[in-house]
């Protein structure tokens, strides 16, 4: 009843093409941002911020990155974990060399290193497609992982072989390192994710996004209408790796506070790919849905037996989680192959015409 577009007239093209064409959508997004910026930091517990919201936002950003490549450009990549790692290690090296520059600048800048690596490994995409390309990107994943382990210079020759996040402050407030509070880190992660989502939204709604989508739908036809495939595909690889790199840097600096190379293993790539596909290929909001479902579902499942007081061994609960998540992925794909974003769209459409069926 409340969700109606009746009476909202669009008088120019820009209004018609707006990302949120309906007033209620704009109010909704404002409310969500208000809750995210005010209510969560004030009311949320440390556990909620640290173990749920920060990882959720970081994974959502990585999923957006992969979605730009796989969902919008149609290039399947399994190297996400590796690209995230490049971001994290680049950020560590940058802040080691220039400790006085604000760490947030370096978190963003590390994305450029990731983008460069992404372009390099994206080069085969011009010759090969589909699963062949997916396997080719696995080469990137394994090679980068090997570099993270075998080149001690990357982790500052630390004895443990892990990244140790140094203390960095902004206006005297610690934002990385062990003394940073979860609220500070949460707000920084949130701001970066919101800003980069906004950029991504503008990208995909503009000329570049349309170029990518035409390549996805049929690359030969796209080439015939004058799109340079090499540039379009490499740009997709660059932007996608940039997003993944920033997500990786945030993951280590603002979430874990220290990490080994295993964090960026192949499992991470698969996890992000899951999020993209369950959320919906080629939709930004789907990346958030997917991240929420895939990341928060296991946490919730682990909490279920405890809530009912069932005595389940932690290891058994872990294994049961695997079984349930696996089954749920199949069930979701069977019920809605286009992802959660499609469900969301259908729901909105139903609301609009309620109480009539159509």
């Amino acid at each position: 009843m409340l969700y109606r577009e009746a009476g909202q007239y669009k008088t120019n093209y820009a209004a018609d093409m707006a990302v949120f064409p309906i007033l209620q959508d704009r109010i909704g997004i404002a409310v969500i941002l208000l809750i995210a910026y005010v209510a969560f930091p004030l009311l949320g517990s440390n556990f909620l911020l640290n173990s749920v919201l920060i990882p959720f936002l970081i994974f959502a950003l990585a999923a957006i990155g992969l979605n730009l490549l796989t969902g919008y450009t149609g290039l399947l990549s399994l190297g996400t974990g590796g690209f995230m790692g490049v971001g994290a290690y680049a950020c560590l090296k940058l802040t080691t060399f220039f400790p006085h520059v604000n760490i947030i600048v370096w978190i963003i800048a590390s994305g450029f290193f990731s983008a460069a690596v992404g372009v390099l490994f994206g080069l085969p995409s011009l010759r090969i497609k589909g699963f062949y390309l997916a396997v080719a990107t696995l080469a990137a994943q394994f090679f980068l992982e090997w570099c993270f382990i075998r080149i001690p210079w990357l982790y500052n020759n630390s004895v443990s072989g892990a990244i140790e996040v140094p203390l960095r402050t902004m206006f005297g407030i610690p934002i990385t390192g062990p003394t940073a509070t979860s609220v500070t880190r949460y707000l920084i992660v949130l701001s970066i994710v919101v800003a980069m989502t906004w950029v991504a939204s503008n990208l995909v709604h503009g000329r570049i996004g349309r170029m990518w989508m035409s390549v996805r739908d049929m690359d030969l036809a796209a080439e015939l209408i004058g799109i340079r495939l090499l540039r379009a595909k490499l740009l997709a690889f660059a932007v996608s790796s940039f997003y993944c790199g920033v997500a990786g840097a945030m993951m280590v600096f603002l979430w874990y506070g220290g990490a080994e190379a295993e964090v960026f293993a192949i499992d991470q790539s698969f996890l992000v790919l899951f999020m993209v596909i369950i959320g919906g290929l080629g939709t930004l909001i789907g990346s958030f849905f997917g991240a929420a479902l895939i990341y928060i579902l296991p946490i919730a499942l682990r909490a279920v037996p405890a809530a009912f007081g069932l005595p389940i061994h932690p290891a058994a609960a872990e294994q049961l989680t695997f079984v349930i998540v696996g089954a749920l992925i199949i069930v979701f794909l069977v019920l809605e192959p286009n992802g959660l974003a499609r469900l969301w769209q259908i729901g909105k459409q139903k609301l609009r015409v309620w109480p009539f069926p159509y």
Partner: protein, 318 residues
Amino acid sequence: MDILYKIFVDPFMQMGTSPDLLVQTLWDGLVAGVLYALIALGFVLIFKASGVFNFAQGIMVVFAALTLVGLHERGVPAFVALALTVVVMFALAYGVERLMLRPLVNQSDIILFMATFGLTYFLVGLGQLVFGGNPKVMIASELYLPRGGLEFKALGGFVSLQKIDIAAVIIASIMVAVLAVFFQRTRIGRALRAVADSHQAALSVGISLEQIWVIVWFAAGIVALATGIMWGARSEVSFSLQIIALKALPVLILGGLTSIPGAIVGGLIIGIGEKLGEFYWGPLLGGGIETWFAYVIALGFLVFRPQGLFGEKIIERI
């Protein structure tokens, strides 16, 4: 100059001066290659007949081996356990067809690919839940697999062969031969090839897709069981085995996703190339290059032949 010498001259000098080590490395590569080829074979079977890129092949290997060992641990005689495992693999194939493939028919490739991921998670969890997550010892002697090694003097040194490796090569060859005959000579084999060519055309001449899918997933399950026994007997049965599935992927793209001979030749190239690379060039880079060297070989081939060595030529129409 020194580095060039180390890359282009020194390894070949070593090969020339100690041919026994070269032979040993080649043999190790051959055995690894045969096992990669077996996994790749499972992939190819399923990809040909249903167009599904089955990521779960690796975990199917582990699951089959675990079922076999787990049943034997519970007091079932070895060969009865083997038969029961075959039954379990059939049930798995039937379940996959019924619950996963049939509802997802006509979806895009990536969705099916993702569904096999879900299957992987499911099987990992189920396997651990039922049989426990600890590594197990393969019941090699109960299945009359030979143990121990052969050493003989050759080329001015010693070459040692593990008997189990010889058995693996022989069994793999027999398996490939049987599959080839099955595909070329039997009625079901012809139906399989028809489905691989075109689903719709196969349907229109009265071939049941559902039946074919159960058969190929079952065949892939049997291949997985054989691989699991062989690989398990060489090391142990544990969940880390599923990583070898990732090793089989470069084999696949090298040989072509749709070609059985490709899977075998690709497996041998990757296996031998990987061992040679690790042994002669690995120390230059600090070792451990096995994890990505295979992919580099495959990528090198792909640049010149995007469809793999034996894959069908990719023809695109607008």
